[in-house]
């Protein structure tokens, strides 16, 4: 089953320490070698994006940035056998931030992607 993990945090004042980026690359390599990580990338600040909204039958397009305190920082797409496995990989990712970026705070949301297992016949 597939899980999409989205990292949210305040935009930091300074770029992340190079040791953290190195450790994230290493962990990504391990997760890919384990057949678990399908795709991952960082996201540019919302200033580079836009919002397309539909309300009251009207479509509106607003350029970023948006006034939210926390922004989406990155995503990762995992194929694993249980939610706990996705949580384990995500915890490893968050621990790297704890150990290598003093004072940083953020949150990762682990979301299940609907897959073939959700569309089969009723569970037997």
């Amino acid at each position: 089953m597939r899980y999409l993990v989205i990292l949210k945090a305040e935009q930091p004042a300074t770029p992340p320490p190079p040791e953290l980026m190195e450790a994230i690359m290493k962990l990504g390599g391990e997760a890919a070698a384990a057949g678990a990580l399908l795709d991952t990338a960082g996201l540019a600040p919302s200033g580079a994006g836009a919002l397309v909204a539909l309300a009251g039958g009207r479509l509106s397009v607003t350029d970023g940035p948006f006034a939210e305190a926390k922004e989406l920082i990155s995503y990762a797409l995992y194929e694993v056998r249980s939610k706990e496995e996705a949580v384990e990989w995500t915890s490893r990712f968050m621990k790297l931030h704890r150990d290598l970026w003093e004072g940083w705070e953020g949150e990762s949301t682990v979301l299940k992607v609907l897959g073939p297992e959700d569309f089969g016949p009723p569970a037997t």
């Binding site: 890919a32 070698a33 399908l38 194929e79 694993v80 056998r81 706990e84 297992e117 569309f119 016949p121």
Partner: protein
């Protein structure tokens, strides 16, 4: 169940860690103790200790390293006991090979070689001295981290049967003195094909379940795919590994489209292609590119992957490049001849040239003994006959296919098609 049990949650977290780490732990230990069965028992001991300690003490920061260290301590204890025992034996005049056990820096040694150790573990689990079903069970157990119960459920067989297969396989490996080593260059091709065969068998059991009431079992496909991806990382220079991964990625991309809303099978030509998984198709194409870049485009798996890619590329059934598919099957029949390949070629020729030409190939296969119980033979023949307007013969063939399949969903599909032709409606 009213309140979430925190211990239960920890247990599930430990299971997840186990599934991620167990193959590495077993592989590292196997090099230490030179016995895959013993390595697995030691790793299991570490898991039991984790299940006792972690709910109270919390999951350690680096759970993989913890499991490895704990299992390794048990291994070293055991080895010391054995060495002492061996010395005792020597004192009474026996000559025994006492291995160099307690090396000073085992951690570094294990970490450096974990990739090779995993590869050794794959080759050992799929060793040709073992019967195919044992290779499959051992691979799922040692590399997939599946429990005996999970393997039994996946293959719809009794748990004691799986347990016995695994015990017997470990015993055979020990009895035949199978070394925990990578294959010698001259045997690499055969040994690799044994590994790839086991992984593809796991995939296929998930993709087209041979028995039971479900048409597909996606979790088995995903397990095989995961094993294939791991293998591609361990042996990146082997084109057929990429060929197999490409084949599985592309076939798996159709899993969602392969089953209808009530669990009924939807065949390739009738699938809603918008349901195909674009990400898996892209990954499959990349794997095929890698196989070809390594000069492996004529390997049996790379060829099958190339055939699967023809379908993945086609925007609709009408736009399928059947000539190319028929040509690829011709090459495949040459490099890896089998009646099943011939049968698939008949389908492709039936589409590329015409049903009469396809039927000619199928008719040559009817006397083939190995296909006597293969439900797809009458099904393909029935389809070609129906397209030629020979509906009564087609009906009989689909009925025959229905009696041969052991999958309930597939039986219903064949009976439907038989009924179609009884009513005299030509097939679409």
């Amino acid at each position: 169940m009213t309140v979430a049990d925190p211990h239960r949650a920890t247990h599930r977290a430990i299971e997840a860690v186990w599934r991620i780490e167990s193959a590495r732990v077993i592989a590292g230990l196997a090099r230490l103790v030179r016995d895959v069965g013993l390595a697995e028992e030691l790793a299991q001991d570490a898991l039991v200790i984790a299940l006792e300690q972690w709910p109270e003490a919390g999951v350690p920061d680096n759970p993989g390293a913890w499991l490895m260290a704990t299992a390794k301590h048990r291994a070293i204890d055991l080895l010391r006991r054995q060495t002492r025992y061996a010395h005792k034996l020597e004192e009474v005049g026996r000559d025994l090979d006492v291995r160099q056990w307690a090396e000073p820096d085992l951690d570094a040694a294990i970490d450096d070689q974990i990739g090779d150790d995993l590869l050794r573990l794959v080759f050992t689990a799929c060793h040709p001295v073992l019967p195919t079903e044992s290779r499959v069970a051992l691979t799922l157990r040692l590399l997939g981290g599946l429990t005996t119960e999970e393997i039994a459920r996946a293959f719809l067989i009794a748990e004691p049967t799986v347990a016995q297969r695994i015990v017997r396989a470990k015993r055979t490996l020990a009895a035949k003195k199978v070394e925990f080593e990578l294959p010698a260059p001259h045997e690499l091709a055969d040994r690799l094909s044994s590994v790839l065969g086991a992984i593809y068998l796991i995939f296929n059991e998930g993709y087209a379940a041979t028995g039971g009431d479900d048409w597909t079992r996606p979790e088995l496909c995903q397990e095989a795919l995961r094993l294939g991806r791991i293998l591609a990382g361990l042996a990146p220079g082997e084109p057929e590994v990429h060929g197999l991964v490409g084949l599985m990625e592309i076939q798996a991309s159709r899993l969602r489209a392969r089953t209808g809303p009530s669990g009924d099978p939807v065949l390739l030509m009738d699938q809603d292609r918008r349901l195909w998984d674009r990400l898996l198709i892209r990954r499959g194409m990349e794997a095929i590119d890698r196989a070809e870049a390594l000069g492996g485009m004529f390997g049996p798996y790379a060829l099958q992957a190339a055939i699967a890619a023809c379908h993945a590329r086609a925007p609709s059934r009408e736009d399928t490049d059947w000539e190319r598919i028929a040509a690829l099957y011709q090459v495949l029949a040459h490099v890896s001849p089998s009646p099943v390949v011939e049968l698939n070629m008949a389908v492709a020729v039936g589409m590329a040239t015409g049903p009469a030409e396809g039927l000619e190939i199928v008719d040559r296969l009817v006397s083939e003994r190995t296909l006597a119980a293969y439900p797809q033979l009458p099904a393909v023949r029935g389809d070609l006959l129906a397209r030629l307007g020979r509906l009564e013969e087609a009906r009989l063939e689909f009925e025959r296919a229905a009696t041969l399949t052991r999958n309930g969903r597939e039986r219903a599909l064949f009976l439907d098609r038989a009924a179609d032709h009884a009513k005299g409606t030509p097939a679409g």
